[in-house]
Structure formats: C-alpha cells, structure tokens
C-alpha cells in the first residue's frame, strides 16, 4: 500500500509540474523591446524624442554619402565631372569615370550617391508620418520639425533632379509602393520641391534663428528657393528670395577675411552641417580632409583643382591667395577653402552648404536676366570687392547683357569651386556644358550630362528606366 501511495503522490506531483509547463500561457514568449531600439510610436510620444529624430537627420547628413563631403559626395563627384576638380591619382577608376564623364551604371560611388539620398528622404518621410500620427508632440514643435524636415527633402530632391533628371518621387515610407515606383517628370519633382519649401517657409516664419547655423530656419528655405527659381528661370522670384536673405544683414554678411568664410557658424553661413554628426571623434570636415594635401605623403592625396580654374583667378585675387594651395612635390594646385585636414578637438570648421555669396550671385544673374544690368553689376561687384579684384562698375560698366551673364558664370566658378558641384550644375542648366567641356573631354556626349541610374536599382525596380545613353 505504502509503495503505491508514494509512487502515486510523486508521479502526480511530477505530472502536475509538467502539465504546468505544457499549458503555461502563451504570453511567455512575449519579449520586451531591446534597450537599443525605440519603437516609432514612442519616438513621437514627446517633444524631446521627436526633436531627437530631427537631430538624427542632421547627424546622418554628415554620414550620408551624397552630403558628407567625402569622395562619394556631390561636392567631389560633380566637381570631377566639371572642369574644376581632378584626380591626382588616376588609378582610382571608379572616380576616373566621373572625371572622364563615362560613368558605368555599376559605379559604386554613383550607387551610394543615389541610395544615400533616398535614405535621407526616407528618414524625412518617416519623421513626417510619425508627427502626423502623434498626438503627444506639441503643435509648436511638430510644426517646426515638419518645416525643417520638408526642407531637407526638397534639398535632397534638388540634387537628385539635377544630377539624374527624372527620378522617383518618394513622399511616404510605404516600401511596397516605393519598390515599384516609376520616375516622375521633372515638372512634378520641381513642384514637390517648391511645395515643400513653401511649407517650410510658412511653418518657420516666426521661429527665431538658433545660434548654430546647422539648423534650418526660414532664411535657409528662402536661400534654397532663390536657387531653385534661378534654375527654373523664374528670375523675379529668384531675385525676390535672394533679396530677402541679403536683407538680413544682421544675420548674414560677407567676412572680409577669406579665411573666415568656412569657419563654424561663420557670418556668411546660411546653412552648415556639423562634422560631429559622424560620431567618430574626428572634428575636421571631410572637405578639409579630402581636398587638402597630405603633409607627410603628398602622393596619397586625392584631389587637385584644374590649372584652367587656377589661371582664371588673377594673382591678386584673394581667392587665389587664400583658397588655392600649391604643392611643390606634386606640382599641383589644390582647393584650400577648408584649412583643417585632421582634428579631434572642438570643431573649428563646419561643412558649408548654403552661403551668402551665392545669394549675391543668384540675384546678379536674376537681375541681369531681367535686364537690370546695373543692379546685377552691384551684386557681382560685392563678390569681386571681397576678392580684392577690379570691379566691373569700374572696368566695364557698359557691359551688355550676354557678356554680363558670361561674367557672372565665370565669377560663380571662381567663387563656388569645390563646393556642392555648382560648376557642373551651372554648365548643365545654362546649356553650356558641351561648349566648355568638349575641349577637355572630346568624347563628351549630351547624354553624359545626366548620371546613370544605378544598375542595381534597375534590377530591383523593373519600372525604372535607364537614362538615355547608358
């Protein structure tokens, strides 16, 4: 009897233990979110975290290939495509393709240029959708972030449109739809850019400027609007927006010392990107590290500027003196706008995106096109005066419109070289690329003025078509 009793009791206990395992509730496999992730709804549950999401975009701009200023950036690649920037070492074949205007659709720089831009656009779209769904972010913060984010989207599309032409217009995070999206027309893209910038303008109108020039404000939007309208040949609007920026003389001015232009939060800066965004501990800009000559082993440096560009600058031009360097070992000229190649302390320079000098040049061009030649000369001379070279009002006040427009283009090259591919985009929008580039690249074809859509994109999205000529 005893045996039976004990075995029974034991087996009952054990079976119960087991049954409790078997039937244990299904909630057991519920796991907590990992502590390195924040679910999207939580990101937009407070002003503070929502602002962090915007800061995330600013940070990532310094890590996104197209905007970071390193070899894969618009600054370098479009610089190489134009007649300003050249490779020191022609063994870098992927880069050489940009310089020779023979970009292969497989080119890795071209691919990251494209994909990094769309990644930034995704971040913007995700933020906008998060704000829209959120009920907890205060209206003031929500509006401000929307304004800033839409600026970034417009800014990114500006470069995609001007480098590639017709590209897909992605304005939400629905990947199923965006994986099979077709390219939009140039017209639609321009409309989207203008709409976004319009929203930015209205939402940021009463927001005070922050001390750091890395944050978008209403004048950043106006500065870009001025450029966009210039590209669209809406001369009046281009003039109007640039005038509004120039009128902010308390905020923005042209430093007389050329060495101060690219400093962090310089008086001239309308928008800059901080190198702290990389999170690597390095505080120099990528432009500084890629354009300056390696002091120890000059031959390991990457980029030089063309002799043609240097010879367009007279020897007394402050830009020739302060923004162009010469290396004896290599016997080459290099861009010396940024002074710091390598630093780890507090950042001294920021990566410049929009600055006042461009606004003067935009207005000069807009005025010249509206036949306000005198107004144009005044603006152009602002730039010449700072460069310390002869003023047009003194040397040739009676210049005709066409000559003046040519002079403005020349001045744009001298002022904006090695910055954000201005030269390449100028030559294309003005239809002068072939005339100017053919002498240095006899194989240049009209279709080379648009970069190829990366072949990987075409593989993955059958609804995209390659640009002509590739």
């Amino acid at each position: 009897m005893k045996i039976k009793f004990y075995t029974h009791r034991l087996s009952i206990i054990l079976i119960l233990v087991m049954l409790s395992f078997l039937t244990s509730c299904q909630d057991w496999i519920e796991v907590e979110e990992p502590d390195n992730k924040l679910v999207s709804s939580e990101v937009f549950s407070s002003d503070e975290t929502a602002q962090s999401a915007m800061q995330g975009i600013y940070n990532q701009l310094y890590r996104a290939s197209f905007s970071e200023g390193w070899l894969g950036s618009v600054t370098v690649l479009a610089g190489l495509s134009s007649d300003n920037v050249e490779l020191i070492n022609t063994n870098a074949l992927d880069l050489l393709q940009f310089e020779q205007n023979t970009i292969h659709p497989d080119n890795t720089y071209n691919r990251t240029l494209w994909s990094s831009a769309y990644n930034i656009i995704y971040m913007v779209n995700s933020l906008l959708e998060g704000l829209e769904k959120s009920t907890k972010v205060s209206p003031e913060v929500s509006q401000r972030l929307e304004g800033e984010a839409k600026f970034i989207r417009a800014f990114t599309y500006f470069y995609l449109r001007n480098l590639y032409g017709e590209v897909p217009l992605v304005v939400n995070t629905n990947y199923e739809a965006n994986a099979t999206i077709e390219a939009s027309s140039i017209l639609e893209i321009d409309e989207q850019i203008l709409t976004d910038l319009g929203v930015t303008l209205s939402l940021l109108a009463d927001v005070p400027n922050s001390a750091e020039r890395t944050q978008i404000n209403e004048f950043t939007a106006k500065a870009l609007l001025a450029r966009v309208h210039l590209y669209l040949e809406n001369w009046e609007l281009a003039e109007a927006y640039s005038s509004e920026v120039i009128a902010q003389s308390g905020n923005y001015s042209l430093p007389t010392d050329m060495n101060e232009v690219f400093l962090a939060n310089s008086q001239e800066a309308i928008w800059q990107i901080s190198p702290l965004g990389a999170g690597t501990g390095l505080t120099n800009t990528n432009e500084g590290s890629v354009f300056l000559i390696n002091a120890f082993l000059p031959s390991l440096s990457y980029l030089k500027i063309s002799e043609n560009l240097v010879s367009s600058l007279t020897s007394d031009d402050n830009r020739r003196i302060h923004w162009v360097g010469y290396n004896e070992d290599l016997a080459i000229y290099y861009a010396h706008k940024y002074k710091i190649q390598n630093s780890t302390g507090e950042p001294i320079e920021y990566s410049m995106v929009l600055r006042l000098a461009e606004q003067y040049l935009i207005r000069a061009e807009a005025r010249a096109n509206q036949n306000n030649l005198q107004g144009a000369i005044i603006d152009l001379d602002k730039i010449k005066a700072r460069a310390g070279i002869a003023l047009l009002s003194e040397t040739n006040p009676e210049i005709d419109q066409q000559a003046l427009l040519k002079e403005i283009l020349k001045e744009r090259r001298k002022e904006l070289f090695a910055e954000w591919g201005h030269r390449w985009l100028d030559l294309i929008r003005l239809g002068r690329a072939q005339e100017i580039l053919l002498p240095i690249n006899s194989d240049l074809e009209l279709t080379d003025l648009r970069y190829p859509i990366p072949s990987e994109e075409l593989l993955r999205n059958p609804f995209l078509n390659q640009n002509p000529g590739y």
């Binding site: 005893k2 045996i3 075995t7 087996s11 206990i13 054990l14 233990v17 395992f21 078997l22 244990s24 299904q26 496999i29 796991v31 979110e33 990992p34 502590d35 390195n36 992730k37 924040l38 679910v39 999207s40 990101v43 962090s52 999401a53 800061q55 995330g56 940070n59 022609t90 063994n91 074949l93 050489l96 691919r111 995704y122 971040m123 897909p168 995070t173 990947y175 965006n178 994986a179 999206i181 965004g277 990389a278 999170g279 690597t280 501990g281 390696n294 002091a295 120890f296 082993l297 031959s299 390991l300 390598n342 780890t344 990366p454 072949s455 990987e456 994109e457 593989l459 059958p462 995209l464």
Partner: protein, 982 residues
C-alpha cells in the same frame, strides 16, 4: 531542480528498501560473471528479473550479485549482444556467456534527440559518426571532421584560419537567405545558437565558429538528422536538419587515457605567377601596345621601383609553417551505479602567415551518471567548459590578395628597424599594402555547456524525464590599432576596438515516455514540452588616443571613448511535442511526430505554428516469404517519411518599427524597414529509402531518395534604394526544392583473426531548383534567380574571344544595344555540386591500424582573377606562356572594363571537381604483453595527415573555396603522437 532531484532520490531509496523487505521471503543470493565469447568479462550488463521491477548491472570486473526466488527468471541484456533469459531454479552461481548479435547493422543505437532508436528499426534518416572516426583529426572545428563522411552533408571549411565557422548544408540550400540555412546544433540535449559569432577581426567575414570551444576528443558521437521523420520533432528549427553532438560519458570503462600529438601545417599549393623579368616585360609591352608614355603615376613599377628586385610574395606571405600541439587527458571510473568521466585538453595552433599569432584552446569536461539499483531513477550530468584564445590579425589586412597580386619587384614592406616602409610605397602613390599589420586582435571565448538529465520510472512502462540545460558563451574581443600600423601622414592615433558578446541559453524540457507491449504490437509514446530563452548581449566601444602603445586596450587610458554600442536581444521559444512509435511483430513500423512551436521572433499574430511528420518502415526480410527464398539477403527494409518542418532563423525584432541612436550626438534614426506580417518558412520533406544487408550483413547498402520543398521563403527581400533601404524581411511566394539521391555502402571485406578491413562509401547527388516563383519577372529577384534553375547560379556574358581590332576581351552584346548589362548575361551557370561523397577504409592487422578517407566533389567553379596582364599587379604565368588565349597586354581603362566584363563571362568557368585525400591515419599499438608489466593497458603511436594531396584540374588555390581562385581553406597538415591508457 534540486527539489526534484532530492525527492526522486529519497523516494527511490525508500522504494528500494520497502521492496526488499516485502520480498525477502524465499530469497536466495545469486552470484556470477558475464563474459563474451572471447572470455572477456563485460561490465555494465543489465540483469533484471523477468516481470519484476528489480535488477542490477555487472561491475567493472563483469561480476554481479542479485537476490531472486527460485521461480524467477534472470534476463541478461547488453547492447550489441543477444539477450539471454535463465530460470533461477536452485542455482546460486550463474555464469553467462553472451553471444554477439550477428546483425551489427540492426543493433547500432541511434540518438534521435528526444528518443533513441535501433538503426534496424528506424523510420527516419539519421547518419552517425563515432569518436573513433574523428577524434585524431587535428582540427579546431568538430564539424569539419565530418567532411566526406556522411551522405547529404556538405561541409566547406570556409577559411584556413582556426576558429572560423565552416559552412554546413544538410541536403542543400533551403532558404534563399544565406544566413537562414544553418542546421540546428544540439549538444547533449541543449540547443546551441548555430549562427557564427560576429567579430571585428579578420574572421569577421566568416564569423567565429560557436562550436570551436568544443574538444573534438570529447565527442562520443555526432548524429545528423535529415528527413521529416527525424527532424519534425524539432518543429520550427528542423528545416535545415539537426546535428546532435553527444559527449563521452564514464560508463563501461575505467582508467586514465593520455594522448599527445604535434605537427605542422603548410600551404597546400602555390600558383604559378610571373617573375620580375616576365612581369616587367609585360608591363613595358602594355605601354607600347597602348602607345602611352609611362610616367611616375601609371608606371611606378617601371620608373620608380628597382628593376632587379625579385620577391616571391606567395612564399613571403603564405610560406610559413604552422605548428600544432594537442594534449588530451581523461579519467573515468566509478562504482556499479555511478560513473564519472573527467577530461582536460589543450590545443595550440600557429599560423602560416608572417606574423607570430597562435590559436589556443583549453577544454575541460565532467560527466556524471548515476542510476539507482532498480534502474528506476537515472541522472546524467554533463558539464563542458572551453576557453578559446585566438590571436588574429586585424580586419582589413589581406595577406592573400597581397601574396598573389603584389608585383614581384615591389619594394620592401618593412624598413630595417621593423617599421612599415611608407616612403617607397608612398612615392608610387600607393597605399601601403600592409597598412594595419601591427593591429593585433585577440578573441577570448569562454563557453560553458551544462546539461542535467533526470528520469524516473513512475510505473512499469511510464517514465518521466526532464532535461535541463544552460549554456553561457562569452567572447571578449580586443583589436589593438597602434599608430605605427598606419601611415603617419594620416596623423593616426593609438586606437582600440573592444567587443564583448555573450550568448546565454537556458532550456527546460520535461517529457513523459510510455512503452507498452501487447502481444505483437509494441508502442512507444512520448509527450513533452520545451521552454527556452536565449539572451544575446553585445557591447562594443572604440578607445581613441592612448598615450602609449602599451596601454592600448585599457579603456581607462584612452582619451576618448567612441561609438559605444550596446545591444541586447531576447529570444523566447515555447513548444509542445509528441511522438508515437508503433511496431507490429518487429516487421512493420510506424512513427508519428508532432510539434507546436511559438517563437518571439514573429509579431504577436504569427507566433505559433504546427509541424509534424509520419514515418513508416517494413522489414520485409522478416516475412517468411523472403526468408525462404532469398537467404543471401540478410536484411531488407523499405522506409519512407513525409512531414513539415519550419525555419525561424531570422533576426530578432524584425517586425518592430523602431528607431536607434545615431552615431552622432543626440539623434535618433530609423535603421531599417519593418514588416509585422512575416511568418515561418515552411519546409516539406519527403523521403523513401531502401536498406539492404547482404552476406550476413557483411555488405550493407542504403539508398535514399528525398525531396524537400521550402516555401513561404522568408528573406531580406532586396529593395531598390528608393524605399530608403536595401531590403525588408518578408515572406516570398517562392518554392525551393532540394531533391536527390544518397547511397551509402559499407562492407566488411576481410575479418579474420588477424586482419580486419572495412570500407564505407557514400555518394550524394543533390539537385536544387527554384521551382516556383509567381511574378519573379516583376520582382526584385528577376535578375538573381530564375525559375527552373538552382539557387546557386550566375548569370554570365557569353565570351566571344579576343576582339581582333582592339585586342581586348569581348563578350557578346546579346540584344545588340551596344551596352553590356544584365540583359546580355544570358548564360546561366549552375554552380551546385553535381555529386559529392567520400570513401573511407579501415584496415587493421594485429596492432597496426590504417584509416584513410578520400573526399570527392564534381562541380564547376570559376577562376576569375590574375589575368589582366598589363596592369600593375602580378598575373598567373599562363598569360605569358599561353598568351594567345588571353587579351592583348594593355593598361588602359577600356582594357580594364573589358577585363571586368570577361570575369563575368563563361570564359572564367572551369571544371572545379576534385578528389582529395582528406585524412589518413596510421597507428600502432604495442602488444599487451610488452606493456603489462608497466601497468599500462595500451600504448599507441599514431601519425595523421590531412589534405595530403588533391587531384583537380582547377587552376585556383583550392576547389573547395571558389572565390575567384585565390582563396583557400585547407592546409596540408602532418601530425604524430602517442596515446597511453592506464
């Protein structure tokens, strides 16, 4: 757990006492010995009294003692021997001679994971390798020892660096995702995460083998479960097969074993490359052909570098000798009911590279098993601990590519003082090829695997078992990056990269087993449940600007800590499983298995799924019809199985739409696309097999045909960047089919008193096909896969020979649009193995034993490197010797583009089949009479060779590692050693 153990123990002792007191009337003590036909006493023989819950086992001297009544019958059973039943009567001394069972095939007991089954009776496909076959191989990875030994199991070493994870595929690639194809690893009942451990070292690409801390000599057997019948009980984790590793226990043996071996490894092959004269001649020719004036930028090797220097860079980088030392000591012993085994081992391996780095492994193991006298309660405890210390070069230094590509007249890499020669390389405008060479990395991994298995027979035929397991894998990795590793021009800082990861798993699996025999029907049933939790933690941080090189790694001495990243991942898993095995008259077998699984890797709505399988077997030689007519056929079985398994090998939390911190300060950003809809990959497996034994089972043949279909493919679905990212986790409506034949033959060629010669042979004919993918043409996969073709394909251009006008390679522009793109890649090259297998021979003659294994593979591969003659890198000598097959020597961009195209064409495809002498082992044991006086049981000398030679037409380094042709993963190794048993 403690509670359970104590209670069970005290209860069983109590039961025993009660039983003894109840049955003492009429008892007599019976003593005796049990031996085999060769008069060797057998320890551990089970002796039970028929129809009573009572029994004992023989001790180490083969003696036993038991209380029984005159009317009782004693039953003697021992694995591999025919059971005997002896009525007690009035005997007090019963000495038994057990007969070995003739049918060795049938009595091999196979571990099927949750249950054991006799090989003769199994309904599923399970392959087994035992210690004897693998333990002497000088390998770090236990799985690599299986190469060539099992049908259907494809293993490639992947890297020649010790500690790297091999690639293992059981019956082909099921998942479209490379990382979704790992089998399930189970060590003594505890699942081990089979995903390679991440690393920042040079092993980063292949990952660190999570089994590298195992001691190969401590493994008793490895079983591989292949078909539905065997794997369905593992449910969602069984799709890619299951590998069961069982460590040695102390049962049935006693004594101390010490073994030591040491040896060397060298590179198995060198490529025939150009010497300086040939190289420079080609380079000069290139400029002449191109009509280009050499200058210091495009012809530094002609104008700046010494024209008479000659370095064999293969010798320089890969010509070293790696030393191997291995020491292994184990002790086992115990009493009749309790056995233990202790094991300690040390393994050290150097490198062939010109750096002083070592791999070291220390392992220790303890195994304890105990059963009560009545065999009602059983306990088995296994603790295995391993420390693995791997010194590696930092990531980014590519000795391989330097060995093959550096021009033979390239300048010195080092200066006389041992620092890197920046100036000479800098002058040529090149980055130093060894930039980073002083970076050292150390991975220190500690792995604890413990398992406690308790079982208690509640009633006759009813047994409660609980399996409790805990594993703790910790890896500390430190990459030191001193200044001198980097070009001073970049103003480098002393830096370090620390990565600590930890994987912890605990598992509890209670289960009930029931066995019952009704007349001719016997039933074995099992029901159980699993709860499991895996925690993964990872922390990494970069230390920057240390004051001195000696302080690198001490984070306190770093001026700045950067990029700190912490992650912890929690994975929970829950399941109920059951199995019913039926057998009628030992002729007809039916096996049903089922599992319901829940996994935290899926969003709440998709967490649970059911899996199951049915298996059946018919031993037709048991039928009177066959026994009468086919007496040459000693054994014949037909079996088949069908069932479903799943695959949940996807990253955790993939369904969460989440943000993470940006590397820059104060920011948050989305790091990927989220898809809450995805669910399990399903894998349906079917198999039919025939097993035959001829000539009293001296020749055994097994033939299986299988077909596995994986559907609902869960992949990181590649997306265009317009979506913001490159991929998203999603289920695809695609079906991948793996089918094939496997043949295994084993024969006992000679077996007499002096000579024994056994041969085993296996061959697999795998077939892999993407059979269905509706909408493939519109999907992102349109140009990666093709319906009706295997997954492992490449789309290639059609090679058209050298263009007579330009002298460059040309490939066919299929659509005539003058652009070379995917549309022109019309050749579909299958890179799946056509067949593969191995043949193993064991010959023993008195004390001498010889074992050798050949591995063979039939496959196509590519050699797509080292023939762009004219460019400033070394080439295969064939470009000079046989220049008519290659393009005109040139260094232009167009030549480069033509070369890039031809490496994507069928020009580079060649037969990469091979036969390799994988391993050979010769041992000699001294005759017992010589060593008896020394109190030794065995003295054995042995020598072992690995990868001694390879027969192949393949031009590259190693046909097992087909990455362009310059990679290799198998070193040639020779070792010799001594084993002593006390």
């Amino acid at each position: 757990m403690k509670f359970l153990f104590k209670q069970a123990l005290s209860c069983s002792i109590f039961l025993l006492l009660v039983m003894l007191s109840l049955t003492s009337y009429g008892q007599q003590t019976i003593r005796g010995t049990v031996s085999n036909t060769e008069q060797v006493l057998i320890p551990g023989v089970n002796i039970t009294i028929k129809n009573k819950l009572k029994g004992t086992t023989t001790n180490f001297e083969g003696q036993y003692q038991i209380q029984a009544q005159a009317q009782d019958t004693l039953v003697f059973t021992y694995l591999g021997y025919s059971p005997q039943a002896i009525p007690v009567g009035n005997q007090t001394q019963i000495n038994i001679v057990l007969q070995e069972e003739e049918n060795s095939l049938g009595d091999l007991v196979i571990n099927a994971g949750y249950y054991r089954v006799r090989d003769r009776e199994r309904t599923g496909n399970i392959a087994k390798v035992t210690a004897e076959e693998i333990e002497l191989q000088p390998l770090v990875s236990p799985l690599q020892a299986l190469q060539g030994r099992m049908a259907g199991v494809e293993i490639s070493a992947n890297t020649a660096t010790p500690g790297g994870a091999p690639i293992i595929r059981i019956r082909g690639q099921n998942s479209l995702r490379k990382e979704g194809n790992y089998p399930l690893y189970i060590i003594d009942g505890v699942p081990i995460n089979s995903v390679p451990v991440e690393s920042n070292t040079s092993l980063g690409f292949v990952g660190v083998d999570p089994l590298s801390t195992m001691n190969l000599s401590n493994i008793k057997s490895i079983e591989v479960l292949k078909d539905a019948d065997a794997t369905a009980i593992y449910g969602s984790r069984g799709a890619n097969g299951v590998i069961l590793i069982t460590t040695k226990t102390g049962e049935n043996q006693k004594g101390v074993q010490a073994r030591i071996y040491s040896g060397v490894s060298i590179i198995p092959k060198k490529l025939d490359l150009l010497n300086t004269n040939q190289y420079l001649a080609l380079r000069k020719q290139a400029f002449i052909n191109d009509g280009v004036e050499p200058d210091e930028f495009n012809a530094y090797d002609l104008l700046i570098w010494d024209q008479n220097r000659e370095t064999d860079w293969q010798d320089y980088f890969l010509g070293g000798t790696a030393n191997i030392t291995d020491v292994n000591i184990s002790a086992q012993g115990g009493s009749d009911q309790t056995h233990f085994r202790l094991n300690g081992a040390f393994h050290k391996q150097g490198t062939i590279y010109p750096v002083d780095l070592n791999y070291q492994k220390f392992t220790g193991g303890f195994n304890l098993n105990h059963h009560t006298k009545d065999n009602k309660f059983q306990l088995n405890l296994a603790i295995n601990y391993g420390i693995d210390q791997n010194e590696l070069i930092g990531d980014g230094i590519d000795f391989l590519s330097n060995a093959f590509k550096l021009p033979p007249n390239a300048p010195n890499l080092y200066l006389e003082d041992g620092s890197l020669n920046w100036t000479d390389w800098g002058e040529a405008g090149l980055a130093h090829p060894l930039e980073g060479v002083f970076n050292s990395s150390t991975i220190e991994a500690r792995n604890l695997i413990t398992n406690l298995n308790l079982s208690y027979k509640i009633l006759e035929g009813l047994e409660l078992k609980t399996n409790l397991g805990f594993t703790d894998y910790k890896s500390d990795e430190l990459v030191k990056m001193p200044k001198r590793s980097y070009n001073p021009a970049g103003m480098p800082l002393h830096r370090s990269l620390s990565t600590d990861s930890q994987r912890q798993t605990w598992i509890a699996e209670p289960q009930l087993n029931y066995t019952k025999q009704w007349d001719k029907l016997s039933i074995q049933a099992l029901i159980g449940s699993t709860i499991q939790e895996n925690q993964y933690k990872n922390f990494s941080v970069e230390g920057q600007n240390y004051v001195a090189e000696a302080l690198i790694g001490n984070l306190g001495a770093a001026e700045k800590l950067l990029n700190a990243q912490a992650r912890n991942i929690d994975y929970r898993y829950q399941a109920v499983f059951s199995r019913i095995g039926l057998n009628w008259d030992k002729k007809y077998y039916l096996n049903l298995t089922a599992r319901r699984d829940g996994s935290s890797r899926f969003a709440a709505a998709n967490r649970f799924a059911n899996f199951g399988a049915i298996g059946a077997a018919w031993i037709f030689t048991e039928e009177a019809f066959f026994t009468k007519r086919l007496n040459w056929l000693s054994f014949g079985k037909i079996r088949g199985s069908y069932g479903t398994t799943g695959n949940d090998q996807i990253p955790d939390y993939g369904y969460l739409d989440a943000y993470e911190a940006t590397p820059g300060p104060g920011g948050l950003y989305p790091v990927g696309l989220a898809n809450p809809k995805y669910t399990w990959e399903k894998n349906k497996k079917a198999e039919i097999a025939l097993q035959l034994g001829f000539l009293k089972d001296k020749l055994d043949v097994g033939i299986s045909a299988y077909r596995n279909r994986s559907s609902n493919q869960l992949v990181g679905y590649p997306l265009p960047s317009t979506t913001g990212f490159n991929n998203v986790q999603a289920n695809l409506p695609a079906t991948v089919e793996n089918s094939g034949w496997e043949i295994e033959v084993s024969s006992e060629n000679i077996n007499n008193n002096k000579v024994r010669w056994e041969t085993s042979f296996n061959i697999s004919f795998p077939r892999n096909e993407l059979i269905r993918y509706p909408g493939l043409e519109q999907s992102s996969y349109a140009n990666i896969y093709k319906e009706g073709h295997p997954l492992n394909i490449r789309f290639l251009y059609e090679y058209e020979g050298v263009n007579p006008e330009t002298g460059y390679y040309s490939v066919k522009d299929q659509n005539g649009d003058e652009i070379y793109d995917q549309e022109d890649k019309t050749i579909i090259q299958d890179l799946t193995r056509e067949y593969f297998g191995g043949i193993n021979n064991t010959i023993s003659y008195q004390g001498i034993s010889l074992q050798f294994l050949f591995q063979f593979v039939k496959q196509q591969g590519s050699f797509s490197d080292l023939f762009n003659a004219g460019f400033p890198q070394n080439q295969i000598a064939e470009v000079t010797h046989n220049s008519s097959s290659y393009a005109q020597v040139s260094q232009t961009l167009d030549a480069f583009l033509a070369y890039a195209n031809v490496t994507e064409s069928n020009f580079v495809i060649e037969d990469a089949s091979f036969i390799r002498m994988k391993t050979i082992n010769l041992s000699y044991s001294l005759p017992v009479k010589w060593i008896q006086s020394l109190n030794l049981n065995q003295v054995k000398f042995f020598i072992t060779g690995q990868n001694l030679f390879t027969i192949t037409d393949y031009k590259g380094m190693d046909p097992e590692t087909l990455q362009g042709g310059t990679d290799f993963s198998n070193l040639r190794t020779f070792t010799g050693g001594l084993q002593l048993n006390f």
